[in-house]
């Protein structure tokens, strides 16, 4: 029998690899009996979903290229353009 502490590790591992059948059955059984672990597993699944959607939502306002960086990059691109010609 797995302890809750082990179940949360397995819950994470199951997201990244395929666990043996027996282990998965034991986890299912544990979830039936343990509300907190099954809640934990659902929350982890939501986190994964949010992570997949992250790219479209990564807009912290203070997180933009600084003006100086933009100027520097624009300059480099101009140079590259001249060389390319």
């Amino acid at each position: 029998m797995y302890k809750c502490k082990e179940i949360i590790e397995l819950t994470s591992k199951e997201m990244d690899t395929t666990l043996p059948w027996v282990t998965r059955m034991e986890m299912k059984l544990h979830f039936l009996m343990c509300k907190t672990c099954s809640q934990y597993a659902k929350q982890l699944q939501f986190m994964n979903k949010a992570l997949s959607a992250l790219e479209g939502h990564a807009h912290a306002e203070n997180c933009q290229l600084s003006e100086s960086a933009k100027q520097r990059i624009a300059q480099k691109m101009q140079q590259a353009k001249k060389i390319a010609k």
């Binding site: 809640q39 939501f46 933009q64 624009a74 691109m77």
Partner: protein, 190 residues
């Protein structure tokens, strides 16, 4: 011949610069490095634009180039990465959540209908903030593995993990930390 305005390399910096910058910054944690990576990406894209097939959007194409640049960056610094594991133990979080027998000693906050949060801009601020609070290697690992879909072996090599098992354990601790932060910063306040 003029290319359509929004797809000429001159406009990339304005159109995609910030998107690329945030993508990079979430994965490398250094503003200077993220800026360099954006610059390298735009230059590489500019030089290879004739190879752009048009099968994807320019944005997706540039993000793809950036991913390679980020992996190169990790590869160059994989030695240093192993030194970054000081604050990864997550013991602080784990210890108070479990008793000595390994059973929960806290109740988790009910997250209700978390999917609704995904329409809320404030949620994404909290989510990004929680990602930024993770130790650097943990955040890198979570994003490379979960979002960018890098193979386990590749993650181990890039981030200096000694074994697959060490990687699984760290990923689990990363999720423990992130979950706890989301609960504190968002779902307890909702």
């Amino acid at each position: 011949m003029m290319q359509s305005n929004n797809e000429s390399p001159e406009s990339w910096l304005n159109d995609y610069g910030d998107i690329l910058y945030r993508f990079a910054l979430a994965r490398v944690r250094s503003e200077a490095t993220a800026e360099d990576l954006v610059q390298e990406t735009l230059l590489a894209g500019f030089l290879a634009f004739d190879k752009f097939s048009g099968n994807s959007t320019v944005r997706t194409w540039l993000v793809g180039i950036l991913k390679h640049k980020i992996i190169d960056h990790y590869r160059k610094h994989s030695r240093e990465m192993t030194l970054l594991n000081d604050d990864e133990s997550a013991n602080d979080v784990l210890v108070y959540q479990f008793d000595q027998q390994g059973s929960w000693q806290v109740d988790l906050v009910e997250w209700g209908t978390p999917d609704k949060s995904m329409d809320d801009e404030q949620f994404w601020l909290a989510f990004n903030d929680c990602l930024a609070r993770l130790p650097q290697r943990m955040a890198g690992l979570l994003l490379l593995r979960t979002v960018d879909g890098l193979a386990t072996e590749e993650c181990c090599a890039l981030l200096g993990f000694e074994s697959d098992n060490q990687l699984w354990v760290t990923l689990s601790r990363t999720r423990v930390k992130l979950r706890q932060c989301l609960e504190t910063n968002w779902f307890s306040k909702e």
